[in-house]
């Protein structure tokens, strides 16, 4: 096992997944044996000491989430706890979970077994977006092999722990990736988010305590068990543990995934991706997908972890950077994001259902040069009124307002310049 690149170190250049025997030959599933000799509480403490933050976007501490899960027999009602692995990656600019599912399926299965044990779950589900067909079949093959080797099923490796693990292929709609919408989807409903509280750890799938973890979070768990919390924290350059599977795309010369210490800077990541393409000069970047606020060249040396990105008035999100050069207009990029979020809204909450299409229309009008000053006021009002948490059941609207609000605050002059005949960058005026 690679010491410094635990997540991707064992991947093959052609992304072909390992068989169970091949995976075991590189140390795979040793962590399952070790974990099953620990108690669930010891496991949660270990992951707590490692300071593993959830990699799905919000950065919530994995151990904190796990600790909310009641032990067997201590929650009201009957039935098991559930562990759900979220592989519904659909954020604009995010392409990391595809890689982990396709190239390293046993790593995901291994992590799921350990996380299920730690959360007292006897039933686990890996939800994967329909488009990731190679990932779906790789995970299904890995599960079948693990079942045949008694790494899943009844009395796993003689430990007394039982776990049923299955794949749920989804069928489109970005909102499915929101954890309570995902629970609605698994129960056979439309993927509509639920009001919290109750949180999924109190009442999730079928009303049972449920933990939802991202594919990358789950993939890190076996390595923490194998090499310890100290090692995991030492991988990082900041307080937040581990490596991060970053990505760089947009206007760079060699767009790619990069596993690097948590807290690596955007400057280093963009350099490793071959530098800025197009004009060669950076205008701005989104640190972690379409829903993260824009940052500017002044933020290039800020460590990219959840805490530092929040302090810089953005978010780490998925850690997959979208890079804009001087020749790329952030109004145009925001317009495309907004059209996406408008289309993908489940339509339940009014600010999201009505506000997003309106914002998308105005941004398109700005690009075309048909917007009015009042339109910009409406954009400002939308971002201010619908951006804060709590105005909608979930954070789709709030997330979508991140790039919009930062566009207005950081690039206000550029936005207003669009009133005079459309995009000045496209017309070669800037």
């Amino acid at each position: 096992m690679s010491e410094t690149l635990p997540l991707t170190g064992r991947a093959r250049p052609d992304r072909s997944p390992h068989t169970l025997a091949e995976w075991r030959a590189v140390g795979g599933y040793a962590s399952v044996e070790r974990a099953l000799q620990m108690t669930p509480v010891q496991l949660v403490d270990l992951v707590d000491a490692a300071n593993l933050n959830g990699r799905g976007g919000a950065g919530f501490q994995a151990a904190k989430k796990w600790r909310f899960m009641p032990a067997v027999g201590t929650s009201p009602g009957i039935g098991t706890n559930y562990l759900i692995v979220n592989g519904d990656e659909m954020e604009p600019g995010a392409f990391k979970d595809r890689f982990l599912l396709e190239a390293l399926p046993h790593q995901v299965v291994e992590g799921a077994i350990i996380a299920a044990y730690a959360t007292h779950s006897r039933h686990a589900i890996i939800l994967i977006r329909d488009d990731y067909r190679a990932g779906i079949s790789a995970i299904r093959r890995a599960i079948a092999a693990a079942e045949a080797a008694n790494l899943l099923g009844t009395n796993i490796l003689g430990s007394g722990f039982n776990l049923h693990l299955r794949v749920h292929p989804s069928a489109g709609r970005y909102i499915v990736g929101e954890e309570t919408a995902l629970i609605s989807a698994l129960e056979g409903g439309r993927a509509i988010p639920r009001k919290r509280p109750p949180f999924p750890a109190q009442s999730g799938l079928w009303g049972r305590p449920t933990t939802v973890n991202n594919v990358e979070t789950i993939s890190l768990v076996p390595h923490i068990v194998a090499q310890g919390a100290q090692w995991f924290r030492a991988l990082s350059r900041t307080e937040e543990g581990g490596t991060k599977l970053y990505g760089v795309s947009g206007m760079v010369n060699r767009p790619q995934l990069i596993e690097a210490p948590m807290g690596t800077t955007a400057r280093e990541l963009i350099d490793r991706a071959g530098g800025v393409s197009g004009t060669g000069v950076l205008r701005c970047f989104q640190p972690g997908g379409g829903a993260t606020p824009f940052l500017e060249p002044a933020d290039l040396d800020t460590p990219m972890d959840f805490g530092h990105m929040a302090k810089a008035h953005s978010m780490l999100g998925t850690g997959t950077l979208i890079v804009l050069d001087q020749g790329t207009c952030p109004v145009a990029v925001t317009a495309r994001h907004m059209a996406f979020y408008a289309r993908e809204s489940c339509g339940w909450c009014t600010p999201c259902r009505e506000g997003l299409p309106w914002a998308a229309r105005i941004l398109t009008a700005l690009e075309d040069g048909t917007a009015t000053p009042r339109d910009i006021d409406i954009l400002r009002m939308t971002a201010a009124e619908a951006g804060p948490r709590g105005r909608t059941f979930c954070d789709l609207m709030g997330g979508a307002m991140g790039p919009l609000a930062s566009l207005l605050s950081r690039f206000g002059d550029l936005v207003e310049a669009h009133l005079d005949g459309g995009c000045p960058i496209r017309r070669g005026l800037l």
Binding site: A191, M251, P255
Partner: protein, 157 residues
């Protein structure tokens, strides 16, 4: 035509696996689509009947999830990424080349029934922008230039 036998048992297997008829609704629709390319009104009613749910409830699922097709699609479905990274790297030119060559817009199928073109949420191929997914395996193709469209459609890519 009644629901063919292999499909019927596959759906019942999904009911067992997913823990009931309701949670298996989406999988049942996926299975029909996998076999026939889309979900017709007749199939919808037959599946609802098999599952013991109302046609309206099943259709509310079928119409919510964007990748369940409720009208016929071509033999090969092309899903072109409309994410920002693909747009920055020539996504519009690729879109125009595909539409020109196929003579259709988004959501349409060629007259010979060979291709359907759909705009897709980010396909998770930002490192290969501009990218698209093609065929039943949703194979990721990219970076694809407008010049590469002909080769793609002739099976050369």
């Amino acid at each position: 035509m009644t629901l063919p036998e292999p499909l019927k048992s596959q759906i019942l297997h999904a009911v067992a696996e997913d823990g009931g008829a309701k949670p298996a609704m989406l999988e049942a629709l996926r299975l029909v689509q996998q076999a026939e390319g889309w979900v017709s009104d007749a199939r919808l009613a037959q599946v609802a009947d098999l599952l013991g749910v109302s046609t309206a409830e099943l259709d509310s699922i079928a119409t919510f999830y964007s990748l369940i097709f409720r009208k016929p699609v071509g033999q090969t479905v092309i899903m072109l990424c409309d994410g920002a990274s693909c747009w920055m790297n020539g996504g519009d030119a690729l879109r125009d080349a595909l539409m020109d060559r196929l003579g259709i817009g988004y959501g349409q199928t060629t007259a010979d029934g060979r291709y359907t073109l759909i705009n897709s949420a980010c396909v998770g191929g930002c490192d290969r922008a501009p990218a698209l997914l093609i065929g039943p395996g949703r194979r990721l193709v990219g970076p694809l230039s407008p010049d590469g469209v002909a080769a793609l459609l002739e099976g050369g890519l």
